[in-house]
């Protein structure tokens, strides 16, 4: 088993945190090898930010694979830039509030989730990444959702209002992801 995931978007959308939470939860709750590789440097200040998560039952080779199984894109630029990097049969999760371009290929599944709008509904754009993480887990069932939620609560804001907000964002995403899978 080997799963390669790339998460891409604007700096400030919490792209890194999606990858970090997913890989941290994998480390905490499974015996899989997992790597989290943040792209670093100029991209962090402006332009696009992206990171890679590789989960494997073997030792992980490249933590920054050129072709990935799954892609999460938070903005349109990232969709256009990275949609060709997905394996045939792969999945692209898009923030459909901002991503207007299509995959322009029919050998991948596109899962549109309007996470910017959903986060605005909750009153804070800051949690759009948590909504997306929820949607990803809801759709893929990669790890037990409760373990991921534990991880979110452990790593993110300890203040009661943040705990509540993150819980709501995660569960809203979960539902959307499960619904998309069922559809």
């Amino acid at each position: 088993m080997e799963l390669n995931l790339m998460v891409a978007g604007f700096g400030g959308q919490g792209v890194m945190m999606v990858g970090k939470l997913l890989s941290q939860a994998t480390c905490d709750s499974t015996d899989y090898n997992v790597t989290f590789f943040p792209s670093y440097g100029a991209q962090q200040r402006g332009g696009t930010a992206n990171c890679y998560v590789v989960i494997s039952d073997h030792e992980v080779g490249s933590p920054k694979p050129n072709i990935v199984d799954q892609l999460i894109v938070m903005n349109d630029v990232s969709m256009v830039k990275f949609r060709t990097n997905v394996k045939s049969g792969g999945i692209i999760f898009t923030n459909s509030s901002l991503v207007k371009s299509g995959a322009e290929r029919d050998d991948v599944t596109v899962v549109p989730i309007p996470v910017t709008e959903m986060a605005m509904e909750l009153g804070s754009l800051k949690v759009l990444n948590i909504v997306m993480l929820g949607a990803y887990i809801g759709y893929t069932q990669l790890i037990d959702e409760n373990l991921v939620l534990d991880c979110i609560l452990r790593l993110l804001g300890k203040k009661p209002e943040f705990i509540e907000l993150n819980k709501k964002a995660f569960s809203m995403g979960l539902e959307a992801g499960k619904k998309a899978k069922a559809a």
Partner: protein, 363 residues
């Protein structure tokens, strides 16, 4: 999975150093190793250690020279272009026999280059880390776990030999997060005992009836300097016998042998799994110590079967290639698979090259 933690390479190295008894760190910001000084700034005060942000890489290595000369387990770190600035201080440590550990998270070069992972400092690390032709034990981790284990061991080696030890990582090893099991924390008593054992030679002050601490990076007498070089050479030779660390993979039946270290090696290994599954007989020599280089491993290759040795590194022009050729001794063809400038080697590139060699290009 009970005691594993998910850590960034730089932070895991810093924590391993603290657990090994490192109580002094000085460094200067440069990407991709900033998490080492940042972690040390938080961590050293918790264990009664000292963190100093030097005014430059040069000042930082010399602070480590001073702290090491005082018998404290000490460390600095930088990346490529910053390591160049430390060269003089590293040479002084080697000359004056001051133990210390330093980390190079390599990035693209030459010059300021790029901030992404590369392996372009191989010659600098193994052949000329400063003037005077000294050598060091150079450890090259390919996972965060190995980086931790090697850092922990590096302090023992540095102190055993009173010599600098280099952890040669790269931007990937420094910035990825991986599950890691951390080594045991040396107790305050153990750390104090290690320091006390160094008092004999450390420049911490001695009474008149004791031998004074005198650390001399040079001699007025050419004969004394030569004797010092000869003594160091004997130590370097002993490393070749006793301190080689290497991973050898399926050398008996290999028709193609990869040679790779660090990040390149983990990617090469993942290619081997796929190639072997296709029935292609590929083996690997992964130097874990680049100095001393695992020359003897190359004698274990079956040259009746082996068609080619493939040197895989993230450096153009190739650098480790020259050590590989010296070890192969023309018993077999040597080819290369290279990337550079901060671009990672890709598994598919390695697979393609391997197929080309073994099947004459047929896919």
């Amino acid at each position: 999975m009970s005691n594993k933690v998910f850590m960034k390479g730089c932070e895991a190295i810093a924590e391993a150093a603290v657990r090994a008894g490192c109580r002094f760190y000085a460094g200067y910001p440069i990407t991709p190793q900033n998490e080492i000084p940042e972690y040390m700034a938080r961590r050293q005060p918790q264990v009664g250690g000292v963190f100093v942000q030097g005014e430059s890489e040069i000042a930082s290595i010399n602070m480590v020279y001073g702290a090491g000369a005082g018998g404290t387990r000490s460390m600095t770190s930088s990346s490529s272009v910053g390591i160049s600035l430390k060269s003089e201080g590293i040479s002084y440590c080697a000359g004056a026999k001051v133990p210390m550990v330093y980390v190079n998270m390599q990035r693209g070069g030459p010059g300021v280059g790029t901030i992404q992972a590369a392996q372009q400092d191989y010659f600098q690390a193994t052949k000329a880390s400063g003037n005077g032709g000294f050598k060091m034990i150079v450890l090259a981790p390919s996972t965060v776990q190995e980086a931790v284990d090697m850092t922990y061991q590096a302090f023992d080696l540095a102190e055993r030999d009173r010599s600098p030890v280099l952890i040669l990582g790269d931007g990937v090893i420094g910035t990825i997060m991986e599950p890691v099991v951390l080594p045991e924390m040396k107790s305050d008593e153990e750390v104090a005992a290690m320091k006390a054992a160094n008092r004999e030679w450390a420049i911490v002050g001695h009474s008149r009836d004791e031998k004074r601490g005198f650390l001399d990076p040079g001699y007025w007498s050419t004969d004394m300097q030569e004797a010092h070089c000869i003594e160091l050479d004997a130590m370097y030779r002993s490393w070749e016998e006793n301190d080689v660390q290497v991973e050898e993979l399926s050398l008996d039946d290999a028709e193609l042998v990869f040679v790779a270290y660090g990040t390149s090696a983990r990617i090469a290994r993942s290619a081997i799994e796929l190639l072997r599954a296709d029935g292609l007989k590929v083996g690997m020599i992964r130097p874990k110590t680049l100095s001393p280089f695992p020359v003897k491993s190359f004698d274990k290759i079956n040259y009746q079967l082996c068609k080619c040795i493939l040197d895989i590194e993230m450096s153009i022009p190739a650098q480790m290639l020259f050590d590989v050729r010296l070890a192969v001794k023309e018993r077999c063809a040597v080819d290369t698979c290279l990337r550079s400038g901060g671009n990672l080697i890709e598994r598919d590139d390695i697979i393609r090259k391997a197929r080309e060699i073994l099947n004459g290009g047929a896919e």
